[in-house]
């Protein structure tokens, strides 16, 4: 992975908060010295529960290309059921990373040519005191564990800032637990 | 001479006689006030002034009695129509001497 320019595509469902999660990562990346960050939701088709995509580009220099990501370095999947509904690995670079929220074990999956990071974010988030189904902060912990880009502390700071009026400690706890428990490997 | 140095760049019309030109020449009928029926004229005090209020050209004065500026009165007849005592009559301009018309 070229750490000067990283493209992350987020797959979630309308209402799951993928945009907020991507925004938190964007903010943390910017604070870490990535002067170019562009977070673009898929446009116009947001409906609660429907598959949605968000793209996040992170660069050491200003980004001029706002076109959709074609060959991501990382895909983040907030709901394992999306594997059946969307082409989540479409265009994913060889050696790219899949970050997956799933109740199933890491060994259940086989994605030849890609790295895989899994955690049961749904359960972890409930354990952290969040309502069932709130997974967008937990998944940030898994993403950081998978690619080690910004440091978990910087991301926790971003989560607590974003959620300062909405259970900040529980949200950051979900991310910390997910960071600790994410299983990585091929 | 053009309007290059005119003080505005918009259409901006202010109240006052003559904003539409010397419209008195348009008149076919002239309003004539019968002071014996006109309310402020008869009572000798401020009253009624409906002709003043309704005149679209602001040519009726708010005075006792009301007077009409024939320089700009178009002869529309609204004052005669609205007068509650029918004190204003529209009279054919031909009834007035040419000399009189020229004065206005």
């Amino acid at each position: 992975m070229n750490r000067d320019y990283i493209e992350i595509r987020w797959h979630g469902r309308g209402g799951q908060g993928a945009i907020t999660a991507a925004k938190i990562v964007a903010g943390a990346a910017f604070k870490s010295g990535y002067t170019g960050v562009v977070m673009a939701p898929s446009f116009g088709t947001e409906r609660r529960g429907a598959p949605v995509m968000t793209s996040l580009k992170i660069s050491k220099t200003k980004i001029y290309d706002l076109s959709p990501i074609e060959a991501p370095d990382v895909v983040v999947v907030l709901d394992h059921l999306l594997l059946k509904e969307a082409d989540v690995t479409g265009g994913l670079k060889t050696g790219g990373m899949i970050v997956l929220n799933t109740p199933a074990g890491h060994e259940t999956y086989d994605f030849p040519g890609y790295g895989l990071a899994t955690a049961d974010i749904t359960a972890i988030s409930v354990e952290a005191g969040l309502p069932h189904g709130m997974v967008n902060t937990g998944i940030i912990g898994s993403l950081e564990k998978a690619i080690g880009l910004l440091g978990i502390d910087m991301l926790i700071e971003g989560i607590e800032e974003e959620f300062k009026t909405r259970r900040p400690e529980r949200n950051s706890l979900a991310a910390k637990l997910a960071y600790e428990r994410t299983v990585t490997g091929d | 001479m053009g309007t290059r140095n005119y003080r505005r760049k918009t259409s901006h019309s202010e109240p006052g006689p003559g904003d539409g030109g010397r419209t008195g020449s348009w008149r076919v009928e002239r309003p004539v006030v019968d002071r014996s029926i006109c309310i402020p004229a008869r009572r000798g005090k401020e009253a009624c002034f409906i002709c003043w209020l309704f005149c679209p050209e602001i040519v009726v004065s708010r005075t006792i009695p009301p007077t009409i500026d024939l320089e700009y009165c178009k002869g529309c007849g609204i004052c005669a129509e609205e007068c509650p005592t029918k004190a204003i009559t529209m009279v054919d301009e031909a009834m007035f001497a040419d000399k009189d018309k020229e004065q206005h």
Binding site: A22, K23, A26, G27, F30, T35, V37, V38, M39, A40, P41, F43, G44, I63, Y64, D65, L66, S67, P68, E70 | M1, G2, T3, Y6, R7, R8, K9, T10, S11, H12, S13, E14, P15, G16, P17, G18, D19, G20, G21
Partner: protein, 399 residues
Amino acid sequence: MHIIENGNVAAAMGIRLCRAVVIAAYPITPQTPLTEKLSEYIDSGQMKAEYIPVESEHSAMAVCIAAASAGARVSTATSANGLLYMHEQVQWASGARLPIVMCVVNRAVGAPWNIWNDQQDSISQRDTGWMQLYCADHQQIIDTVIKAYWIAEKTAIPVMVCYDGYILSHTYMPFDLPDQDKVDLFLPPFSPDYALNPGAPANLNTVTLPDTRVDVHGELAHGYMEIRYLLHEDLLNSLAVIAEAEQRFSEIFGRGGDPYLESYLCDDADYVALGMGSLTYQLRVSVDALRREGIKVGVMGLRVYRPFPAEAVAAALQGKKGVIVFEKALSYGYEGALASDLKAALYDRAAAAGAMPRVRGFIAGIGGRDIRTAQLTDALREAIQNEDHAAPAWIGLCL
């Protein structure tokens, strides 16, 4: 202070920083989050303004016209069919010389119904007597809103601040949020020559005769034609005001550039890609790719479409072999409006200089069709290598 927000929020923050006191807008995708943000600012007291809810865009502009006539700094925003519905009042605002600033969040117009980005909406308002400024990123959105008020109030001409729907309006990017103190320094309170006043009543924009007339003071006043000529003349002269705004802005905020054209690798270029909005930044990536192939090409982003900076455009393109115009709109039955405007500018000026660049047009991204950078690169290369003056080609058309 840098923040990461979407383009609509950048515009809303700009309007708040400019202390607009009357907002009237009707929500339409993709402009909606902008007006929601403004009503949020007003509701929470972060912005001291009156938000006037209206039942249509036509009424939104009517409210802006009334409020601006009364001396208020006003703002509205719209997109696509909303702008078209507003059209009659849009013309009125410029004829009445009211310095209204309106964000146009560019979107395709129906039919068929489409909520995605192109620029047909604002381009179709080209001849309304408004200025049109185009933005390529969030920094330009917020900065252009601030400059727009100064330019509009200096010239008494309304300004559209145009930015691409979704691609900019809904995309999050970092930008510098200007300090309120500096904005206040840059933009003094609005004080029009005349604001509606019961003590000095006036009838504004009433029936105005074809001929000049003598007003109540006995002075010879304009007829309709003089008033319209002066709008045109002042629009042409506003090019200098736009440059002055850029200069003042860069002195106070420490950033700025060419007021009309944002050029990238154009100095030694044989060929130049020309466009407006976010597409011109994407074209930089194509230019970089073609430079690696040894092709001398650059890109110019036109920031000011009306008034059209014909002299600056022709001068910048002097000696170039070709100009390739990329547009997200067109004059149906002919070609892209920018291509036509460019050719007219070159015809008068480049021909006199004895060197006329070839002009080739491309239409792209109509109704939100994805524009991949590789497609732009291929189109540019093809246009440079192929001398054929074909009708404008549509990029990504699947027919």
